[in-house]
């Protein structure tokens, strides 16, 4: 008499590509949030997120997966945003066909009392490198040593930028709040 024997199938071995994609998938929200905090317009976030993925994918074989991924992703995103801004500065402006990006203006943000929009607007007034230090340290809770390493600056430089960035952020929040209260 015939019988059927149940055999455990071999579990699928995660491929390098698979783990890379999984990591990107897991941190997609963070990548988008980081790009937004670094001042990328909503219409460009998706394209720049793809550039982050390309860098991650190319370097995934060398990446030490025991280390936290977020500071690394932040460093990649920061460099991509810097390069993107340099390119934009060189380009001759032309009327783009993009729809308005939907980012609320500071006034709109204050009127609707959206704290995140207010913070975003305030961050916009902090220069990029200081903003990067500020976001990494004060929003992502990354220690300053790691911040300095990720952004390839000295620890002193990181502290200095953090101090200045905090002053600028506080000033911008006060200014935006005053402007909002006046309207």
């Amino acid at each position: 008499m015939g019988y059927v024997r149940l055999v455990h199938s071999a579990s699928a071995v995660p491929t390098q590509e698979g783990t890379c994609l999984d990591a990107f998938k897991h941190e997609l929200d963070y990548v988008f949030a980081t790009l937004r905090r670094l001042g990328v317009s909503p219409g460009e976030i998706e394209d720049l997120a793809q550039e982050v993925f390309i860098v991650l994918y190319r370097n995934w074989a060398e990446f030490d997966i025991t280390r936290p991924l977020r500071p690394y992703l932040f460093g990649v995103a920061f460099r991509i945003v810097c390069a993107h801004r340099r390119r934009r500065a060189r380009e001759i402006p032309h009327p783009t066909l993009e729809t308005p990006d939907g980012c609320p203006s500071p006034e709109g943000a204050l009127q609707s009392k959206e704290s995140i929009a207010l913070l975003q607007a305030a961050l916009e007034s902090v220069p990029l490198l200081r903003r990067a230090v500020l976001v990494m340290h004060d929003l992502d809770d990354v220690p300053i040593v790691e911040v300095a390493k990720t952004l390839s600056i000295s620890r002193f430089g990181a502290y200095s930028r953090l101090r200045k960035g905090r002053k600028e952020l506080t000033g911008a929040v006060r200014r935006l709040s005053r402007e909002g209260a006046r309207r």
Partner: protein, 223 residues
Amino acid sequence: MIRRDPSYDSDVEALLERGRIIVPVPDVVRARSLARARAIMGVAVALPPKPMLAWWRRGLPLAAAASVALVVSTASALVAFRIRAVKDPAPPAPPMSPASAASAPIPMLVQLPPVAVDPLPSPAAHPQRLVRQVPSLESYAAELDLLQRTQVAYAGHDFSGALALVAEHGRRFPNGRLAEEREALRIRSLVAAGRTAEANRAAASFADRFPRSAMLPRLGTEP
């Protein structure tokens, strides 16, 4: 926990507290981003080894060894022939027909080791078999590869390069499986390059050709 700067007042501190919350990306955007990421990885996942290249890599040492053996054996045969000619001068041979030339024994060549020619892979056999095995897979991989390069060029803001690659894709795979993605990339590259009129024409043609495309809503180019 990171120590906060005392210069922050409570309002800014509260603002930062709320700003730490990461807003999830909408599902549509997430799906689109992951699909693009998969497309970037596509070539490596779909067809890791290149058959022709692998064949050449495998056959190269063998071919080199065979060539050396052929040269050595030819040289030794020439030497043997000269020695024999000096030792035992023969009368000039009568001219032979091609058929008899093929069948007639040549004493000089009998001495040669037969291994000289055998290891060389016959160029007619293997490539044809390989080409027959993987035409569709190869063309799909080539399509993906080309489109991936286009995407990289577009992401790198090399819009003229991206358009050139789109044109190449159009020439090689006019009705390829990734024609829809190609046309979408064409429109986006034209828009980004500031060629508004061409972008609008391309968008109109895209809407005609792919009326149910999921990409259509994002490709509206009219200001």
